[in-house]
Amino acid sequence: MATPTVSKSILDSDNIRYDASARTRWRLGFDRVIGWLLPLLFVVAIAPILSLVYYISARAIPSLSWQVITSTSPYQTDAMGVPIIGTFELMLLATSIAVLLGLFGGIATAEFLSERTAGWVRMSANLLVGTPSVIVGYFGYFTFVIFFGWSLSLLAGTITLAFFMTPYVFRTADLAFTSVPSHIREAALGSGARPYQYILRVGTPIAFPQILTGIFLAMAIGVGETAPIVLTTAGGKIPPQTLFSPVSWMSSLIWQNFAQAPSTGLPTIAFQAAFLLLVVVVSLNVVVRIISSRYRRRLEGLYA
């Protein structure tokens, strides 16, 4: 078969320029249209976010002071020291539980459970992610507040929030461990590592950045949640003293202000709380970006 039998101009043309053929020119025009359309759609997509950020900042920043953020006086209605402390404590506890459960769950589904069982666990986690947060809140209310009799408390809030956050950590941990390249996994097991040794020494360092991303993502989602907390712990006037004291929470501060005066508009304090939450969520997302880009570079060689 020394000489090709098919002869077709477009295949045999040695013209490598953009204006090689009418078809290339048409494609180039199409390319240009798309090139304009994409930035336009980008603007359409981010305009609502930008206007929201502006709407909140314009009402929050002028009156925002150190005193507003730090004052923990119990009956002050224009300071948010108490909800900030409450949010911090709740997040710390809930994140610890979510990380513990999510991480072990992810390792279990990725490494130890049968495909069948792992499939069920993954499906449950996905379901939990898709559950409206109000439902999670009701579940927490009936189970912990009423049935266990913990009343509106730090403990009830913590566990309910942990329920909400765990599947996010779980999903990234599961994905992180299953996406360790199989030749690396087999090399570790093939040099006589026990499964847990493989996980500790080889799997975790590789999966770590992705897991960390998941943890920060879960925190960013958790800190903005309102319903699970409003229903399980609310209205603490002072920072919680025990696990059974009520806690005040940043986003429920916004909600309560709205519930009390839906028609007169939100007071400045609600906008300030919203603004701080926005800052926290954006910072968490930035941290995620930094971590994942830094580690990705370090692990690049693995996938060659």
Binding site: T5, V6, I10, Y18, A20
Partner: protein, 260 residues
């Protein structure tokens, strides 16, 4: 033949590399390389790991641009047109200068659709595609093995068959140059032999540029050897000449296996 076919004097180089440098952030991956590729020839590019052989072939069809952070200086002339010149479409460059990679890169489709991939992108008619696929598989030395199972998944082929299918896929759009980047490094000896036989037939028809770290392979299939070392083209010449009487001590050391 049609009028678009570039006319050049017989024996004039199809590809001509002029003062080519590739710069990464802090390092020169290739330093001022100049080399011509005559029609119907097989040039083996050899050298130790990290010497820039892969970077070199990737500059020959602008694949290098897919790696962010690299800058290319100098010229690569394809039948008299600088492929880095203004107004040149890299897609059309890659149709004329095809590429096959280290590991077989078959797509999860049938054998037929894999071979037809490039043609489908150009919207050839079905008749045309049928003919071109058969021809490409024939040229890649795979036709007799797969002609009765064209609808089988390409993933079920053996590694060597997959690699020849990749060669067929590249050949189907009838390039004048085929770049082969260590095409047998993932294959067993029998499969390697088949691919080498395919290369030997093909080099009578088109320009082949073979990157290999295997001096034996260069000796078996190439007409000409170019030795690269840390981004420099150390020497180039007839295969027997370079492998038996290298002029440069670095080449000498490499082919006698003192470093790899």
């Amino acid at each position: 033949m049609n009028e678009d076919r570039a006319t050049s004097p017989p024996g004039a180089p199809v590809l001509s590399v002029r003062g080519l440098s590739v710069l990464a952030k802090q390092k020169k991956l290739l330093d001022n390389v100049s080399l011509d590729f005559a029609p119907s020839s097989l040039t083996a590019v050899i050298g130790p790991s990290g010497c820039g052989k892969t970077t070199f072939v990737r500059t020959l069809n602008r694949m290098v641009e897919l790696t962010p952070g690299l800058r290319v200086k100098g010229e690569v002339q394809y039948v008299g047109q600088n492929i880095y010149g203004a107004g040149v479409n890299p897609v059309l460059v890659r149709r004329r200068i095809g590429m096959v990679f280290q590991r077989p890169t078959v797509f999860p489709m049938s054998v037929f659709e894999n071979a037809a991939f490039g043609l489908r992108l150009i919207h050839e008619s079905d008749d045309e595609v049928d003919k071109a696929v058969e021809e490409a598989l024939e040229r890649a030395g795979l036709w007799s093995e797969v002609k009765d199972e064209l609808n089988r998944s390409a993933l079920s082929l053996s590694g060597g068959q997959q690699q020849r299918l990749c060669i067929a896929r590249a050949l189907a759009v009838r390039p004048r140059v085929l770049l082969l980047d260590e095409p047998t490094s993932a294959l067993d000896p029998a499969a390697t032999q088949r691919v080498e036989a395919t290369m030997q037939t093909l080099k009578r028809e088109i320009v082949l540029v073979l990157v290999t770290h295997n001096v034996g392979q260069a000796a078996r299939v190439s007409d000409r050897v170019a030795f690269l070392h840390s981004g420099h083209l150390i020497e180039v010449g007839e295969t027997a000449e370079i492998l038996e009487r290298p002029r440069d001590p670095l080449t000498q050391e490499f082919i006698t296996g003192r470093f790899s």
